[in-house]
């Protein structure tokens, strides 16, 4: 609710760009999650980002509690609270959309671009259940819709170049806004060669190329009624994954929706929004560019989702109520064809996802009660009905090899509850929350068939008999402000029962040539995940400020093994200098030694690293038009390093000079 209000305010303020200069100098790296979403410029690209044209991935990576798991230079997988996509709910404008790759090479965040988005809303734990069930949190990528502000035609172009990888990007944005009608369209193109790690070491198969176009239209039926449509088409080709044995020749998404919005400030029901949507993804893995593979294979995957939601906001006295009724139907199908090295033998074919149809419908209700000027309490609940059906006979039969009594249909009920209490004073505030949440296993966890995980070198088999994963969560945060110094602590703890993870089954022979063995998805009795962050900032003057953040994370399972992909001790410090037309940020960022790594789940110890970045920005006005320059050096010292989040220890980018220019014509 609070955020919606903010967005509203910011949208109304769109004309007064001067008033929003401060958004250029966002100290995002040390901000709390919730603050990421407060910055509501019309577009993510021009203002919010240090690099105007950096990808959604790079943008998310800058936030404190989101870490991106990297398998290459493209399509990074977000992780919140040390939990990856299986435990998160990632949506686009509240629309459910599911990747079509069995190996997580296409997180949803890879199918939109910054040019499409207004903002990204990141929620931790059970706060993130507005659109669906999750354990770790949610990411909602919110599409930039224009408003009926009669501002006429606005054009902006962006150009970017980075030396590392010879990375070129270009974007064009056209917006027409009238009294009753708006139409916006944007396109963006990105192309990068292989990047180089520190010491000029080329990372093979790290190239990518993509374009993204979107078309948005809105029509105002009457004062209170509006209809909108959004269409996004995203196509990536020739994407290399240096950490994986295969690349991607095509990742294509078509994302469409039609929305009816009713808004009335005078009635109890403030807004009522109904959306119908459809999206389809085609993802084709390919190894034709790899010179040396044990066997050539094709692995295409498809994911189609149809869905709707109806969302209402109500306000009566102290109550701010949000109701969201939603449903979707998804089909996920993936195949694998292996081309025999012995030409006299036929090709080998199997389904890796047996055309799983997921039908979900659920209801979410949240009430935010302002007890008094300082205290707010909120409570939310989501109840859902979740049904899986295996539609492909062959795929069903191949799972029956492992589960002879398997039924083709399974249903579950899912519950999520959360409540939090907020106390706010001028100089300090505190939030305390508790939550309980459940999630259904993902398609891979429930129905995957010999999915090779190059991280631990095991083939994974789904387990349709998995129970719901359940989490109890406690979170707290507090911020103090003494004159120019701000200090903050935030922490969350998750106790997850039936924690779904692969368990070695020595009785099954691996399918992938050279695999270490087979793991079947199973549940640990329980697992614990904990994180704590200390943030501080000092304002030396209006122009000078210092931010820092230190984080510690912990995760272990009931088998007394560390969980994989748990962030080690991390730190970040930055000095900001900003005036109305110029800003500079010098940033030091690093991790400690990964001492609590998990060899059992394929991890090795990642050494500590520190990198130094410099970001600079200028704004110039030419008549009423605006020119924004962003430039800088990343990894100034050309450190050769990889982090715990780099799949199979692929090294990260070495020194990189970048420059982006945006020109906005009113």
């Amino acid at each position: 609710m609070k955020h919606l209000v903010y967005i509203g305010i910011c949208c109304f303020c769109c004309h007064s760009f001067f008033a929003q200069q401060d958004t250029l100098v966002t100290a995002k790296d040390t901000t709390k999650l919730s603050q990421i979403i407060l910055v509501a410029q019309r577009k993510l690209s021009n203002y919010r980002q240090k690099k105007t044209l950096s990808s959604v991935d790079a943008y998310l990576e800058k936030s404190n509690q989101v870490t991106m798991i990297k398998r290459g230079n493209y399509a990074w997988e977000p992780s919140i609270n040390n939990m990856v996509s299986d435990r998160l709910n990632v949506t686009i404008n509240g629309m459910q959309i599911f990747g079509a790759c069995t190996d997580k090479m296409d997180p949803i965040t890879s199918y939109v671009d910054v040019s499409n988005l207004k903002q990204i809303s990141v929620s931790s734990g059970q706060e993130g259940t507005e659109n669906g069930h999750c354990i770790g949190g949610s990411i909602d990528l919110q599409i930039a819709a224009s408003k009926f502000n009669n501002s006429g035609l606005k054009t902006s172009t962006d150009l970017g170049y980075e030396t590392n990888g010879n990375y070129k990007s270009a974007g064009l944005d056209l917006e027409y806004s009238g009294d009753k009608f708006y139409l916006t369209t944007d396109g963006i193109f990105r192309k990068s060669n292989n990047y180089s790690a520190g010491g000029n070491q080329e990372v093979l198969y790290s190239q990518f190329q993509k374009y993204n176009i979107s078309l948005n239209g809105g029509y105002k039926l009457s004062t209170n009624h509006t209809i909108e449509t959004h269409i996004i088409y995203d196509k990536a080709t020739d994407v290399g994954y240096p950490a994986l044995p295969m690349d991607v020749s095509l990742a294509e998404a078509l994302i469409t929706s039609a929305t009816h919005i009713y808004k009335n400030e005078l009635t109890t029901i403030k807004s009522l929004e109904t959306k119908l949507y459809f999206n389809t993804i085609t993802h084709i893995m390919d190894d034709t560019k790899r010179p040396d593979v044990p066997i050539r294979m094709d692995m295409p995957g498809w994911s189609d989702t149809y869905g709707f939601y109806t969302k209402a906001t109500l306000k009566e006295n102290k109550h701010n109520i949000l109701v969201n009724l939603n449903g979707f139907y998804n089909r996920s199908l993936a195949e694998m064809t292996m081309f025999s090295n012995d030409t006299s033998q036929p090709d080998m074919f199997m389904h890796t996802w047996p055309d799983v149809r997921t039908l979900y419908s659920g209801l979410f209700v949240k009430d935010n009660i302002a007890l008094n000027e300082n205290e707010t309490i909120s409570a939310g609940i989501r109840l859902g009905y979740h049904k899986n059906k295996i539609a492909n006979k062959l795929g069903f039969n191949s799972l029956r090899i492992f589960y002879p009594k398997l039924e083709d249909t399974q249903t579950r009920f899912l519950t999520s509850l959360s409540t939090d209490y907020t106390y706010k004073k001028e100089n300090w505030n505190a939030v305390f929350g508790i939550g309980y949440g459940e999630r259904a296993p993902t398609v891979s966890e429930g129905y995957g068939n010999f999915l090779f995980n190059s991280f631990d070198g095991y083939d994974y088999i789904g387990n349709p008999n998995l129970k719901n994963e359940k989490a109890i969560e406690i979170n707290a945060k507090t911020n103090y402000k003494f004159n120019t110094i701000s200090l903050g602590i935030e922490s969350s703890f998750f106790h997850i029962s039936n924690y779904i993870i692969g368990e070695i089954d020595n009785s099954i022979s691996p399918m992938t040539i050279g695999a270490n063995g087979v793991r079947v998805y199973n549940a640990l009795n329980h697992a614990s995940i904990f994180n704590i962050y200390f943030n501080s900032s000092i304002d030396f003057s209006n122009a000078f400020s210092f931010n820092s953040s230190i984080g510690y994370n912990y995760g272990s399972g009931s088998n007394n093994k560390n969980l994989p992909l748990i962030k080690p001790f991390s730190y970040l410090a930055e000095v900001n200098y900003s005036t109305a037309k110029f800003n500079a940020i010098l940033q030091l960022e690093g991790n400690g030694n990964q001492t609590k790594y998990s060899p059992f789940y394929g991890e090795d110890e990642t050494l500590s690293y520190t990198v130094l970045n410099l970001n600079l920005g200028n704004v110039a006005y030419i008549n009423h038009n605006k020119l924004i320059f962003k430039y800088g050096i990343e990894n100034i010292l050309d450190t050769n390093y990889s982090t715990y989040a780099d799949w199979n220890n692929i090294p990260r980018q070495g020194r990189n000079f970048y420059m982006n220019a945006s020109f906005i014509v009113f």
Binding site: G217, T256, S340, P346
Partner: protein, 282 residues
């Protein structure tokens, strides 16, 4: 405005994906050889013996054969014949037969008879085999012998070998005829060569099964079961799990009633395959 385009797309896709594609059973026709292809006619004066199978040709391994006898005088088919047969392979120095079943009437058919034969070998040009059909109609006995052509199957679906007990055996794959991904019912025939002309089924031995894909690093599959003897059809039955299409190497090990290994070895890192095996491809 866009709704106009989006709704049809949504609905068309919904409906096309929602439709199921179950095939209806085709109604039974009066033609009793429906679905069968003629292998060969054997003319014997006033009668013609018609041999049919699903594929229309004999090949090495297990063949399920359908037979009917035509009255050449009035083009009708006899419904009360009793038939027996003897396949013979003519070798340069000797001749021998092969495992073959008795011939019985197909239960729900009037004119059709069925039996099975397992050719353990053939000449490269398909020559060498002949078949003698003995039959009686209305208490009159007839006999006819005709050469037939048996082609070599692409994959090894039958093997004849000397067991460690110095007896010669024949193992033949009967099912699955049309293997699919998943758990297949596997049926194997096991016969002992008593002499050149007699190949009785062997009872109550055990056949251990270990299917592998040599093209996939000798990948195996779970939940296979060893083959055990079923007295009803005198065949060995078990479960065969096939995780994907392609070429499968079915490693076998033959054990007699007292668990002595007669032929075959375990598959290990050092020993990629058993000397007793069958092959499958789909």
């Amino acid at each position: 405005m866009k709704l106009k385009y989006i709704f049809p797309i949504i609905f068309i896709t919904l409906f096309t994906t929602a439709c199921s594609t179950d095939d209806d059973e085709s109604p039974k026709t009066s033609n009793e050889t429906e679905g069968l292809i003629k292998i060969q006619d054997i003319v014997n004066n006033n009668q013609t013996i018609e041999l049919y199978s699903k594929t229309g040709a004999f090949q090495t391994g297990y063949n399920n054969v359908n037979i009917r006898i035509k009255n050449n005088n009035d083009q009708t088919y006899f419904e009360n014949a009793s038939i027996s047969w003897m396949p013979i392979m003519q070798m340069p120095m000797m001749q021998h037969s092969c495992p073959h079943s008795t011939i019985s009437k197909v239960s729900d058919k009037k004119t059709l008879y069925t039996g099975s034969v397992i050719y353990q070998m053939t000449n490269t040009d398909g020559s060498g085999w002949s078949i003698t059909v003995n039959y009686s109609i209305d208490n009159v006995d007839y006999t006819v012998t005709e050469t037939i052509s048996v082609s070599q199957a692409e994959k090894q679906n039958v093997t004849s070998f000397m067991g460690s007990d110095d007896k010669r055996y024949i193992v033949a794959l009967v099912e699955p005829l049309e293997p699919t991904i998943g758990i297949n019912d596997m049926m194997v025939g096991l016969y002992k060569m008593e002499n050149m002309m007699s190949f009785p089924a062997v009872e109550n031995y055990k056949i251990m099964l270990d299917p592998r894909m040599p093209g996939m690093g000798n990948h195996s599959s779970p939940n296979n079961t060893n083959l055990s003897f079923n007295a009803d059809d005198a065949m060995y039955h078990g479960n065969l799990s096939l995780t994907m299409t392609g070429y499968w190497f079915l490693n076998l090990k033959l054990l007699n009633g007292s668990d002595d290994i007669l032929k075959g070895e375990d598959v290990t890192e050092q020993n990629e395959k058993s000397s007793l095996y069958l092959e499958l491809e789909f």
